[in-house]
Amino acid sequence: MKDFTRVRRGAGKLVLYLMLTMAAIVMVFPLYTGVVTSFLGAENLSTYPPKVFPVELRWQNYVEATRQAPLLRFILNSFIQSSGVMISQLVFASLAAYAFAFLHFRGKQIVFLVFLSTMMIPWESTIIPNYLFIQRIGWDDTYMGLISPFMATAFGTFLLRQFFLNLPKDLHDAAIIDGCSNLRYLLTIVLPLSRPALGTLAVYSFLQTYNQYLWPLLITNQTNMRTVQIGIQMLQVFERESWQVVMAGVVTVMIPTLVLFIVANRQLIRGLTAGALKG
């Protein structure tokens, strides 16, 4: 019954596996060549045809990459920025989602629309005043400058609100009547029960921030404040033809997000499809 899409005939199966494998190769290929190249010596890189299979494992390229650009510092900066954004989004969104899900107040719908409207305003249309503002208060080249514009999140608020709404409402009423404060209810009941949703938001916001480009490009000038996505280009500028070193750097800065993808695949996919499910 269930197996309509299951293919029974051997030959048909083989063709499907062939198609699947070809599709997978196409999707993985750019990353794969990057990894292979990152281990090649310069002499193997310049030979023709291009090396598509790993012929050597030259770890020195990675040492060379971290020597030419402070990659570890860039990764640290990105971690601080991403963690800062992640933590503040978790706090801000939990609080707002709690108000939307459990508290009564007049004009809730209007406040909801205010939140929603921030998702409709493209970041680029406000970026010039934001850039000038951060410059004026002297937050360029600081972690506060990197983190502060992204502390509130309408998407995260809606995600958590949706989850909170599914928690038993009677429990809330009973707890409040028994004298439990709202803050304590949020901290001791709601948040522990909402770990899946919090995990989704955490992974999603960390990844989005780690991969950010335009904002850190604008507000960081000193090398030691650059984030990975900007800093990685130092290699490309300095060593235009040392592609093995550039690729070693690219692979290095990708490792945190690839690990995140592997260990938190489910949370990540839930976060990414959350917008789609609303239709």
């Binding site: 999707m27 609080l95 707002a96 249309s125 509130a152 695949n265 499809t273 239709g279």
Partner: protein
Amino acid sequence: MELSLRRSTLARQRRRDLADWLRSLPYLAPSLIAFAIFVFIPLIRSVILSLYGTNPIGQMTTFVGLKYYRRLLTSPVYHNSLVVTLKFVLYTVPGVLIVSLILATLGNLRLKGISIYRIAFALTISISGATAALLFMFLYHPVIGVFNYLLSLVGISPIAWLIDTKWALFAVAVPRIWLQSGFATVVLLAGMQGISDELYEAARIDGAGFWQSWRHITFPLITPSLFFLLVVTTLSAFQTFTEVNVLTHGGPIDSTQVVVHEIYRNFYFNGQYGYASAQALVLFVIIMVLTIIQFGVIEKRVYYA
């Protein structure tokens, strides 16, 4: 008597509203304040800025009215950036939708080991625009790049991907299609897995083959996901910056100068904050109008289960 009663209930109601608000405000205030500082006030400041001339550090000096907007109407550089952006949308949006439809259809097959393939298809969701661009920059290398090598195998002479004005925009679009296909496949697969097996079973009893089932069951039932992707990929294509900045800086001869890169060049390098703000607001309006059109026109034809 009745009036004073009503007045007192009204007063009580108002007191209760106030109490509700005082209780709720601490929860809402952090987000509302952050939105005010980084979204709403900047949006208003953008509008004001677009009406003023500025000094090199972005302070408003002279009121110029609609001068910048008039300039937008006649500027060939700006018109070019709009055309380039539109082309970029036309490359990437159908590209992402077609690739992800194929990948999701394959990934939805019930075969042993399919989850490994699904992971391979979804891999790009963890990759950034900047690193994707660098990976492709190497593949585009005129001499040691794999793309030109593959072309040489079928007897096509090498292409200067990022230097040839005919190819540069396409070359910038490909990594974007690659990146977004992972995300799009995940979304479509989620949609496909929500389709009930009974529908397929009924179709099979009626003698429908794989292709017919796909055409008449799978495709109509994932139109909500496709619609969502259409909106998201179109909006993000209009906001493209990273790939252009890494691969071409808008060149050669502005052939990849998309709108956001044009805005960036105007305010960050040329210090034309007012003019760039006007451009940013036009982008805002374009995106708003597109969203409304997409929701209004296309959503009517989307099948919601």
